[in-house]
């Protein structure tokens, strides 16, 4: 049994603190770990027995807690955890405020008891004690305190996950560039201030240097959102260290050309889809040979929505495995950004395309994109469905970017001498694979890395030419299913991580 106590003194009257925290549904307004909260069944937040459902600020994790007691005289409430993504068993917590009559302040005591696996005790005590209780103290202190935080090292945190500037700013026409000494331009971008949830993305002023040799400076017109941005944000991929700017796909206009750049000039429309990250910004300076000139008949939005996913589909279907007529392929997340392109393109190559999608709306979308056999995974086990569709043979290639939740079953869905292509892990880190088990099907496994297939200007040209050819001929369509102003990129991340998006998502300026 772990007994955890955290307490503090807030320099505000006890009734003010109680008013801020009393309602069981109020945490979303003040606690930095809580992105959203609802009371289930339409009950009131001070109804003992009510259940609150939290969405944590990672935009994904859900937990449910039941109000067990509320006492306005003692200024206390007690609650228990009923569902959580972490192993806290029998977790019961009590919040209690006491007045400090000497100075009209508040003593706040937050304590809990729970059991947990001994190996995770230290980690969970830290998570609950610091991440929940102490973080809550600091948020209320910042909000209500008459004096700055007295706690050493307690940096004030930005109150909530909302963008730090009015969203209307993002819809304003591009402001005239403010030039600085040395040719740098003052601009703005969404800076990742730390690895973490969507709230780490903050609007900040940034300086865009004058282009050096081989570089150009761009003004973005549309930016593509990709799951790799989420991996970079959480730190799963160490492509960007905070403070830094995420984003690997955009379209824009060349505004300045550095020495030694050939074939690009001011006013040219270009796109890119590659590291290094830095697209979540109004302007950037980058190497000219990473850019793809955009043909007149390819709109900026299409390029921003389709370059990365389209080039991904291109190398997955042409290079990682050369898909040919008569192949049967399984595409996971067939209604998603890359998924819809794999379906269209796979069918164009003559393959039979089976796809998985969650729910009738997404299966319909997969079918519209060329998936001959959409499987609704909310109703059907895809392994059994693939067995039925292929008469027990399995698929020649499985394209799996879902990862943890599907990878083992994807192997089951493979044909003998099939090829499992794992190109992402949207549902979580991949388990260790049982290589010996691959002998059971003489299976082949690939874990392609985007950068290795798009690492040279020649490779980018080849892949983008194929993409533009398909778009121009009409057998390939890229749909920006939704767009968000760049300043609201945190919301876009939440939508992407909670599987609420369809097709591609773009950020507008």
């Amino acid at each position: 049994m772990v007994k955890l106590v955290r307490s503090t003194v807030i320099d505000a009257p006890v009734d003010a603190v109680w008013a801020a925290i009393r309602d069981f549904n109020s945490h979303k307004f003040w606690h930095p770990a809580i992105a959203d909260s609802v009371i289930e069944d339409g009950r009131a937040g001070d109804e003992v027995g009510c259940v609150r459902r939290f969405i944590l600020s990672d935009g994904e994790s859900v937990l449910r807690e039941r109000l067990l007691a509320l006492d306005d005289r003692e200024r206390s409430f007690t609650y228990c955890l009923t569902d959580a993504p972490i192993p806290l068993d029998g977790y019961v917590a009590t919040v209690r405020l006491r007045p400090v009559s000497d100075g009209d302040r508040t003593f706040w005591d937050w304590r809990s008891e729970f059991t947990c696996p001994p190996s995770r005790r230290a980690e969970l005590v830290e998570l609950v004690g610091e991440g929940v209780y102490q973080a809550g103290f600091e948020a209320i202190r910042e909000r209500l305190s008459r004096t700055p935080s007295a706690r050493a090292g307690a940096a004030p945190r930005s109150a909530r996950a909302e963008p730090s500037s009015p969203t209307s700013a993002a819809r304003e026409p591009a402001a005239p560039a403010v030039r600085r000494a040395g040719g740098a331009i003052e601009s703005w971008g969404m800076v990742m201030t730390a690895h973490g949830g969507p709230e780490v993305l903050e609007r900040q002023t940034v300086e865009v240097p004058a282009p050096g040799p081989g570089e150009v400076r761009l003004r973005h017109t549309a930016i593509g959102l990709n799951f790799i941005d989420v991996y970079c944000r959480t730190g799963y991929f160490r492509l960007v260290d905070p403070p830094g700017i995420l984003g690997m796909e955009a379209a824009g206009v060349v505004t300045d050309v550095g020495p030694g750049v050939h074939g690009l000039g001011e006013g040219d429309r270009v796109g890119y889809a590659c590291p290094p990250p830095g697209a979540y910004a109004e302007r950037r300076t980058m190497a000219a040979d990473l850019l793809v000139p955009l043909p007149d008949d390819i709109p900026d939005e299409t390029a921003a929505a389709g370059l990365l996913k389209g080039m991904t589909a291109a190398f997955l279907l042409h290079d990682v495995h050369r898909v040919t007529e008569g192949d049967t392929i399984l595409v996971h997340a067939a209604a998603g950004g890359v998924g819809t392109l794999l379906c269209q393109w796979g069918r164009r190559l003559g393959a039979t395309v089976i796809g998985t999608a969650g729910g009738p709306e997404k299966t319909r979308r997969a079918r519209e994109n060329g998936c001959a056999f959409p499987i609704d995974t909310t109703r059907q086990d895809f392994v059994a469905a693939v067995r039925d569709i292929t008469d027990g043979r399995g698929c020649d290639v499985v394209y799996d970017a879902v990862g943890r939740d599907t990878i083992e079953k994807s192997f089951e869905a493979l044909a003998v001498r099939g090829h499992l292509v794992s190109f992402g892990q949207a549902s979580g880190p991949l388990p260790l694979l049982d290589m010996a088990g691959y002998a059971g099907k003489s299976a082949c496994l690939s874990r392609p890395n985007y950068a290795h297939y798009t690492g040279t200007a020649a490779a980018v040209r080849r892949l983008s030419d194929r993409l533009f050819e398909g778009l121009r001929a009409g057998w390939l369509r890229v749909e920006a299913g939704q767009s968000f102003p760049l300043a609201r990129v945190a919301d876009a991340h939440r939508a992407l991580e909670s599987r609420q998006t369809t097709g591609s998502t773009i950020l507008t300026l």
Binding site: V5, S7, V9, D102, G103, F107, D109, F137, A150
Partner: protein, 146 residues
């Protein structure tokens, strides 16, 4: 029934403050209003049920009985058996609570008693400010305010 509530924040961890205030015979060591104190019948001062007999600096004499003592909760409870104040059924609780994010503790001192109705305000002030806050001020002077 009069209820008095006084609380403060003392600039030292609860266990350090507790070592000073725990001794039921130790009031003269830290409370400015107390001149001298003894435990009746020679029993230890942490024996629940013991009676302290002390003299105020203004000459009054008070007898109080220890009703509860908790080293786990940093708390004690006592009643007044005899005093010149004119109170009956007087029970007081003292408690320290750690403040985990700083080297300080929260101190709470409460009392309930009966008295003549016209003296309620005066006695609440005497107990809450004179006795309790006076004690807290002395502790803050000794350990630091917070």
């Amino acid at each position: 029934m009069v209820k008095v509530y006084t609380s403060s924040v003392i600039g030292a961890p609860a266990d350090r403050v507790w070592r000073v205030v725990r001794d039921f015979n130790g009031l003269p060591d830290w409370h400015p209003a107390i001149a001298e104190s003894r435990i009746e019948n020679g029993v230890p001062s942490d024996r629940v049920g013991c009676i302290r007999n002390f003299t105020l600096k203004d000459g009054g004499r008070i007898r109080e009985q220890l009703l509860a003592l908790s080293d786990f909760d940093y708390s004690f409870r006592y009643s007044i058996l005899e005093s010149p104040m004119g109170v009956t059924d007087y029970i007081a609780d003292f408690r320290l609570l750690p403040v985990t994010d700083g080297d300080q503790c929260f101190a709470e001192w409460t009392a309930e008693f009966d008295c003549a109705p016209e003296r309620e305000g005066e006695l609440a002030e005497l107990v809450g400010q004179g006795v309790f806050q006076g004690g807290f001020d002395a502790l803050k002077q000794r350990f630091g305010a917070a």
